[in-house]
Amino acid sequence: MSARKPYIRPMDGWWRRNPFFMRYMVREASAVFLAIYAVILLVGVFRLSQGEAAYGAWLAALTGPLAIVFHWAALLAVCYHAYTWWKVMPKTMPMLHVGGRRIPEVALSAVGWAATLGLSVVVYALARWW
């Protein structure tokens, strides 16, 4: 008779066991802010289609203290999301070689970070001064 009696450990609270898993959960959770923000923008487009008064009301609603707090939180979450998104992006690509040497992952991420930063500055400048 086999004396085997394998013990299977529970997975409860797995993401609290390691700081790496916590950062993973924050990374995934930051997408929720992105989704909510996208919905707010969609509502804005919808209100715009209803006319100037409706759009003005939507704009006014965004000036409330709760809306301001949410936007700051969303901005932080989106920054972290963009950072982690480009950080893992090279894992989804085939290896790239230039001149017989492999392009390091951090170089590929850096291109993404630079593009995100550059485009954000352009969008901000257009919104602010144009």
Partner: protein, 253 residues
């Protein structure tokens, strides 16, 4: 033992299936020298303190892949982790996470062995070359496409690092999928279609959520997360039937 001047507390997770209903920590005081690994600490316990302690080990130089344990909650090889880095604190040693505990630090790996076989970890040529045709030729650039993924020693630290495998034991998992890619990426191999059923499945590459900890703990720099996630693209191309046009080397069953 002449040179040992310090004593460290090692807490080992014990589980003896014939008498314990669940695992518990047992603490041992181990005198150690500066160059002692965690594995040497365990060997000291077995030789001098408690011969009933069970653990796997073999080569002592990070190539056999036998001595993977959770060391202070992190999957590491016992032979390349040093006690001096934990002293004066105590160090906790447990069996690899996400695997059933057979006894003490020994885990059951039957599931992994089955998955390893499932991805056909060998070169599958379209038509085997005859001796008259000579050897297979490969350029250094072609070798670079898979060499890193061929460094796997099946130590299973990546499975212990993968919460997806713990939550969904059906997941083919990091090492097996990395090895599938190692052969798919080899210019001498045309077996991607034979492996595609496992790789493209829900429990294949798609179960991976890119936590990425597998690549972090790998002692050989295999980067399983990279192998898996670039194959999500290949799996998608295969689904739409375009992969076979993009792979110039053809396919063999």
């Amino acid at each position: 033992m002449a040179e040992s001047t310090r004593t460290i507390e090692i807490e080992v997770l014990r589980y003896r299936p014939e008498q314990d209903t669940e695992p518990y920590y047992q603490t041992f005081s181990v005198p150690f020298a500066d160059d002692w690994s965690v594995l040497q600490g365990l060997q000291y316990i077995k030789d001098d303190l408690d011969s009933s302690l069970s653990f796997r080990w073999s080569c002592r130089m990070a190539i056999c892949g036998s001595c993977g344990y959770m060391i202070d909650g992190v999957p590491k090889l016992g032979c390349r982790t040093f006690l001096r880095n934990y002293y004066p604190n105590k160090v906790r040693v447990g069996p690899l996470e996400n695997f059933p505990i057979e006894r003490d630090l020994v885990v059951g790996i039957d599931d992994f062995i089955g998955k390893l076989e499932g991805i056909k970890p060998y070169i599958i040529p379209k038509e085997p070359r005859t001796p008259e045709q000579g050897e297979y030729l490969q350029t250094p650039a072609q070798r670079d496409q898979y060499e890193q993924f061929s460094s796997c020693i099946n130590c299973l630290l990546c499975y212990a690092a993968c919460p997806q495998y713990g939550l969904n034991p059906g997941f083919t998992g990091p090492a097996a999928l990395a090895l599938a890619h190692r052969y798919n990426a080899d210019s001498r191999d045309q077996g991607w279609e034979a492996r595609s059923e496992v790789v493209n499945a829900q429990d294949g590459v798609w179960r991976c959520m890119l936590v990425g900890y597998c690549s972090e703990v790998c002692p050989k720099g295999v980067d399983p997360a990279h192998a898996i996630n670039q194959n999500k693209v290949n799996s998608t191309l295969d689904y739409f039937g375009v992969l076979k046009f993009l792979l110039p080397k053809g396919a063999a069953k």
